[in-house]
């Protein structure tokens, strides 16, 4: 449960004693955390750790079995329509309509999110993400790097206060991935947006995130800054910490403690 000590003032996202059970499978087992405004946090864990379930609940796609998730003060999913226009997300596992051009896709999503001065917003976003020359091209005819940039444009179209990212650079070459991270960093800095990121790329997490929540079998295994986690486990990289937790090797942490 969130205590006054762990609860930041006026948190953007709170997850309190969240439980999600599918039949006999416990996907999320009573986790609690709160994210302060403008923070960039990674939710990490091996496959099946409960990250996607947690993020889906925060996005209002799932009704928790018990406990609650709130975003900007609205309980999800019950009050989601109060805040969905201030949120957005990006995932390589959800596509944009392939036959529509980039311009058409951004127009549709801009209208859905109630974006004012939409043509100007699309033009500015396209310029920032180097999509201007491609605006009339069907989304299905783009390279995976270009598609990621379009997804990113969609996720930023409403200048969200809360951004949920699910492996934003998966399957991208290092150069494009680095470019995407740079854009995300700039957006967070300029908009003071709160970001929750799920990723398997530890270098990405170290670069973007000030806080890491490690999940294992539906529970929070650890929660701290990347630097402190690395120090606590006596490791050199976050990837090594991740492997320690995923494989149940917590001796290093215990020894350090």
């Amino acid at each position: 449960m969130l205590s006054a000590a762990t609860m930041p003032a006026d948190p953007t996202i709170t997850v309190d004693c969240l439980v999600k059970i599918y039949g006999k499978d416990v996907a999320v087992d009573g986790i609690s955390f709160a994210l302060k405004p403008g923070s960039v946090t990674a939710l990490l864990g091996a496959n099946g750790a409960g990250k996607s379930t947690t993020i889906a609940t925060i996005m209002g796609l799932l009704t928790p079995t018990s406990g609650r998730a709130t975003v900007l003060g609205a309980e999800m999913p019950r009050q989601r329509h109060r805040v969905l226009h201030r949120m957005n997300f990006e995932s390589p596992y959800v596509d944009m309509p392939m036959r529509l051009t980039i311009q058409q896709n951004l127009t549709v999503f801009g209208m859905l999110y109630g974006v004012a001065n939409l043509p100007e917003r699309i033009a500015r976003l396209a310029a920032e993400l180097e999509l201007t020359e491609l605006l009339d091209r069907p989304t299905g005819k783009l390279s995976s790097g270009q598609k990621t940039r379009v997804s990113l444009a969609k996720s930023l179209i409403n200048e969200p206060d809360v951004l949920l990212l699910d492996e934003p650079t998966a399957s991208l070459d290092p150069d494009t991935a680095d470019w995407v991270r740079g854009r995300l960093e700039r957006y967070c800095r300029e908009r003071h947006a709160t970001v929750l990121l799920a990723s398997h790329n530890m270098a990405e997490v170290e670069r973007l995130c000030e806080r890491v929540i490690m999940m294992k079998r539906g529970r929070i295994e650890d929660d701290d800054t990347p630097e402190r986690l690395i120090a606590r486990y006596g490791r050199n990289t976050l990837e090594e910490v991740f492997l320690d937790i995923a494989r149940g090797r917590t001796d290093a942490r215990e020894a350090a403690q």
Binding site: A56, G60, V83, Y93, P97
Partner: protein, 273 residues
């Protein structure tokens, strides 16, 4: 609640328009999709039209009942294509793996359903207007000559098609593409029961109450009364409308229950089998 929050929570015609625009862009970009809207209704109409011609030449009764087959096939297509137009637009989101984007956007379910209803009318218009003109050219059968009766027939048929479409959309959200075949075949259950090509009296007595519980039955009986007896049965249309209101409400309730169940079971993002 702020003004922006208020706007987000209220029904938004802008978001409905955004979805209609999304499907319009898709239709415009794909000529096979447009051809598909016209091709099968035209084939059906021609086949039944020629059969009717043949029967007219060889049977006194059918000579008197001119146009019932063509009329029936055109009205059946309004019912069937209305539902299909609704369901296919919905399926396009699942094929495109775009449902997650929509479900996490401010689009409200009621706005999504409204956009699908608008699209079913647009798709019907693209398919049925040319086919109804072909019916005039080939067989001298003028569906538009029904006048106000056509409006009553259309209203009742489209309401039934939407009720079924909404229910099928709920099943798709809850069960994923495993329920896809229902989108294509559900309406065929109505083909024998709603007495599209024959009067209700043909059915066994025990089956007739089932037929009369379905709104399209009243429409097809009404069409035959108009073509054979030259009488517009307003009573049938009113009864059909009353049942349609109940059917539509039941479809909407089922949709929202299935959507809630999908949220509980985590199937909103699993759009596969």
């Amino acid at each position: 609640m702020s003004v922006q929050e208020n706007e987000a929570v209220m029904f938004s015609t802008r978001r409905v328009l955004a979805m209609v625009l999304r499907y319009w862009y898709l239709l415009r970009s794909s000529w096979p999709r447009i051809l598909d809207l016209i091709y099968w209704p035209a084939v059906q109409m021609l086949m039944w039209g020629f059969l009717q011609l043949y029967l007219n030449q060889n049977s006194g009764f059918f000579n008197k009942a001119g146009g019932t087959f063509i009329g029936a096939v055109l009205l059946w297509d309004i019912l069937f294509r209305g539902q299909l137009g609704f369901s296919i637009s919905f399926l396009e989101e699942m094929y495109a793996r775009n449902m997650g984007n929509l479900m996490m956007s401010p689009l409200r379910p009621v706005e999504f359903v409204t956009a699908l209803m608008v699209m079913s009318i647009i798709r019907l218009a693209i398919g049925m207007v040319p086919v109804s003109l072909l019916a005039i050219a080939f067989f001298g059968f003028n569906l538009w000559g029904f006048g106000l009766a056509l409006a009553a027939f259309f209203l009742n048929l489209i309401l039934t098609s939407w009720a079924i479409g909404i229910f099928v959309a709920g099943l798709l959200l809850r069960n994923g593409l495993g329920a896809e075949s229902l989108a294509w075949t559900f309406m065929f259950l109505f083909l024998p029961l709603t007495c599209v090509y024959y009067p209700v009296a043909v059915l066994p007595v025990w089956l007739q109450p089932v037929a009369w519980s379905l709104p399209p039955t009243y429409v097809f009986e009404g069409m035959r009364a108009l073509l054979i007896d030259h009488v517009f049965r307003a009573d049938l249309m009113i009864e059909a409308f009353a049942i349609n209101v109940g059917l539509f409400a039941a479809g909407a309730v089922a949709f929202f229950m299935l959507l809630r169940s999908a949220r509980r079971h985590g199937t909103l993002l699993q759009t596969g089998e």
